[in-house]
């Protein structure tokens, strides 16, 4: 019986020190070629603790996705360094999972095989990876949808599968680029609560990009605010609301105070310059 209980937990008990320490030092990233080359990220230095939930807040086009792309290992920095647990980031790795605004599930794989994909790449046998995938699907509230194809799910469900697919690898860091940005307000709030709930159980460092101040304040332990292009970190705001957080905090005085501070920093008055939406991997396929 004891044995059964231990096995049904999706994550083995954390042994020893927690992982997921991020150290970014004097990071500069340049994008574009020739005449069009420009500095997207300028002299960013920041450390993130293992298991910390950090939100990156900044105006559109300031270099948030670029910074995340470099952390994931898809973009090479021009100078400076990124280390995760004292290891230099040199390329993509299953230790650093990525979640985009629009899901990138494989349309040809059923939900369960999407979630189990990381374990397939690690060479685990099918039965074992399906068992683990089923546990993670239960964790994100999608038990019973194993045999569906991604296109048969709603946007919120697709993002939940995406999160499960990343978490099955037990990443040291989960990098999320406006993951709930395309969802309707109600679904977004539900997903925020679900993410916090999952994160309480599977503790991993999360770096979460958003341009929604409320979202950042509701989720984060700490908010990093970035300046318009070239992106620099202009302020770090600790957010100390007790967890588990409830939606009541939205109306508290302290919440409103922090929100005002964020608004000031983002200069929302003159932030209405239209910028083409690009990802560091090229033009975004969705408007």
């Amino acid at each position: 019986m004891m044995n059964l209980l231990a096995e049904s937990s999706p994550v083995p008990a954390i042994q020893g020190q927690m992982q997921g320490q991020i150290d970014i030092k004097n990071l500069h990233i340049r994008l574009g070629h020739g005449k069009n080359e420009f500095e997207a990220v300028q002299n960013v230095s920041v450390s993130i603790q293992p298991g910390e939930f950090v939100c990156l807040l900044g105006p559109s086009g300031c270099g948030k996705s670029t910074l995340l792309g470099a952390l994931a290992g898809h973009l090479a920095p021009c100078s400076g360094s990124i280390q995760v647990d004292a290891q230099l980031v040199k390329g993509p790795h299953s230790d650093r999972g990525l979640v985009f605004q629009h899901h990138t599930l494989f349309p040809w794989r059923k939900v369960i095989d999407n979630v189990a994909f990381g374990l397939k790449m690690k060479g685990l046998p099918r039965a074992e990876r399906h068992e683990r995938a089923r546990e993670l699907l239960k964790l994100v509230g999608l038990a019973g949808f194993e045999q569906h194809y991604p296109s048969q799910l709603s946007g919120g469900m697709q993002q939940r599968v995406e999160i499960a697919r990343v978490l099955i690898n037990h990443p040291r860091v989960m990098l999320m680029d406006e993951p709930f940005g395309a969802l309707d307000a109600q679904t977004r709030m539900m997903m925020q609560e679900l993410l916090l709930d999952v994160w309480e159980r599977i503790r991993t460092t999360i770096l979460f990009i958003t341009h929604d101040i409320d979202e950042a304040l509701f989720l984060a332990d700490r908010i990093l605010v970035m300046s318009p292009r070239p992106g620099r970190i202009i302020e770090q705001i600790p957010v100390v609301f007790t967890r588990p957080r409830q939606s009541e905090i939205w109306t508290s005085d302290h919440f409103i105070h922090l929100k005002r501070r964020c608004l000031e920093l983002l200069h929302l008055k003159n932030a209405d310059f239209p910028l083409r939406r690009l990802t560091p991997l090229g033009t975004a396929p969705y408007p």
């Binding site: 993509p92 650093r96 991997l281």
Partner: protein, 277 residues
Amino acid sequence: MSSITEAIAISSEKIRPHQLEVERLVRRISSIGICVLAWHLASTHHVDLGLVTFQNVPSPQEVLAAGWELLQSGKIVSHLTASMSRVFSGYLIAVVTGIALGLIIGRSRTSGDTLLPPLEMLRPIPAVAWIPLSILMFPSSELSMIFITFTGALFPILLNTIHGVEAIDPRLIASARSLGTGHGAIFTEVILPAAAPSIFTGLSIGMGTAWFCLVTAEMIAGQFGIGYYTWASYTVQNYAEIVVGMLLIGLLGMTSSLAIRKLGNAMMPWRVSGANK
């Protein structure tokens, strides 16, 4: 697969999918029936529209008689096996080279720059123009004919594969890499399945163009083949036999293209829209 058919069944409660299928089949067959009827009327009444005339066009009855004769002679089996083995050999080689080249060209700009210009130059050359060179280049006429059907099938497969690979969302590949997919596995686990719908479009078109080149290829045949039969009937001006040959090629081309499409749908059950086409 079953969950998809379920989903379709739910979306159209009133009409049963089976009933719908029967209706569509009836519509398709009657469409061919109408064409044959129009042909019958035009040829028996010797319709002359000035620009186009049916005065000397053989009627369906004459063609049927010629077809019956071919069937009776017993040569049809040799004609069919000869043509089918040529078309399928050329097609198979085109499938392998087209998909392999397409994956490479679609993935790397340098290989695209080096491989595409000569291919683009060869592409507009019609099958007929290849006849003399293919006779010179290959030791047997059988290989020459296979080569000509190969040239017909190659380009649709190649171009659709390239297009399919280039259209893959780069985020899909980035995600896969961040999930621990190595360089080799990216091809088999992501690029090939992501490009599969486009590749199958190419495979289906390529099947048709391979048959399209058959008459040309079999102009150099000595004895057997539907294309040879058609061409030989032309040299003796037997028009009914020509139409028999034409119809046989059309029928075989259509059936094998359809088979490829069905195979594609069976292999890509996640494409709900493709499943009921």
